[in-house]
Amino acid sequence: MIPQSFEYTAPQTLKEALALIEGGERKILAGGMSLIPLMKLRLAQPAEVVDLGRVPGLNYISETDGVVRIGAMSTHHAVETSPVLRAHCPLLAETAAMIGDPQVRNMGTMGGSIAHADPAADYPASLVALEARIRLVSAHSERTVEASEFFQDAFTTSLEPGEIVLEVEVPVEPSNEGSRYEKFAHPASGFAVVGVAARIRKSGDRIAMARIGVTGMGTHAFRDRAAEQVLESGGTIADAAAIVGAGEQPNSDLFASADYRLHLARIHAARALTAALSRAS
């Protein structure tokens, strides 16, 4: 399968890159793990492609003042193995390790993945649970949006034409926090039929804070604040898991109908929360 012809530019600076993508006509290539298969199937036929692979300064993971900053071009492998993330945000490293397969993780990037916003991608569940913020830049602007605002619909984010993801900011998970990403992977595609990210902080025996991010279930990842509320107001994990996804219209496909998918989301929420709780101290 052969992609259609396109013009290719590989800008050497961010400024150059942003100038090229102004207007949003040109397609941005990061790791290519979503875009290139679509181009080969000719489902995507961009006339012009801008490759961010040669833009310096987009590939870093560092921690300052309680915030981990992840450059958009960081590969999933880099996220998975980053000592900074393993120490300060193990949930994200754990999530990255469950994306696709080793070769995909070696090429795919965080910025590319979240900008593509596949409804069954893994990162979004963890990013919304982590209350991550996403820094977006264009030639003329720079802004930061909450992860829960960023993912708007299937393949739809708050990115405006001409904007790219610059960096993801994740608050450091305190050392007493427990977190976990639980995924039911599609056996063929490896995508999350459902994936649930959970974070828990305890205060004595009660749950002081709970965060739940769900992917794969609806048109986009979401934070389940109602279920979080149940836990934070003394409810059990079973109580919370039982209402996960209430009010959402679950996706349905050959592999999992809407009712099964909703059920899986709740089961995996319970599992993720239980594991997170056991990791919290």
Partner: protein, 153 residues
């Protein structure tokens, strides 16, 4: 693939029904629609450019309205053909009053073929629901605007 659901449009039933028959409104509301040209009674040729993330495709097709039973119900048939596949959607739309607005209930069947069916089944249901949602959201906003225009006149 079966689709069903309902949306509320903030205009009275007769008005909602009329809007749903108006090719200018349909053009604005159908995601990607670039124009409807009358080719027969209640039948239009359609040009559509679907863009969803990286996926894009040009479709040529038809929109047809049948079984018109104003202002209660009608059948909407949308067909499109393109290089990346083809689709045919057919649904019965039933209108009923809902407060100051109109509840539009739809129930139908969508058939998809070609590449998008062969490789996209994981996302067809999600996408179909999203496009229908966009249609009704746009319709609601257009309806709201048309109400304001009417009120201003």
């Amino acid at each position: 693939m079966k689709v069903s659901g309902s949306y509320v449009v903030p205009v009275p039933q007769e008005r909602a029904y009329a809007l749903l028959q108006d090719p200018a409104i349909l053009t604005k509301c159908m995601p990607g629609c670039e124009g409807l040209d009358l080719i027969g009674e209640n039948e239009y040729a359609m040009r559509m450019k679907m863009v969803l993330a990286s996926v894009s495709g040009l479709f040529a097709g038809k929109v047809k309205i049948s079984e018109a039973n104003p202002p209660a119900s009608f059948r909407l048939i949308v067909e499109g053909n393109g290089k990346i596949g083809f689709m045919k959607g057919e649904g019965l739309l039933t209108l009923s009053p809902s407060g100051d607005g109109t509840n539009v209930q739809y129930e139908g069947d969508v058939h998809v073929g070609g590449t998008i069916a062969n490789v996209g089944q994981r996302l067809l249901d999600t996408t179909a629901r999203m496009l229908i949602k966009r249609f009704f959201e746009k319709l609601a906003s257009e309806a709201g605007q048309s109400e304001r225009r009417l009120a201003a006149d």
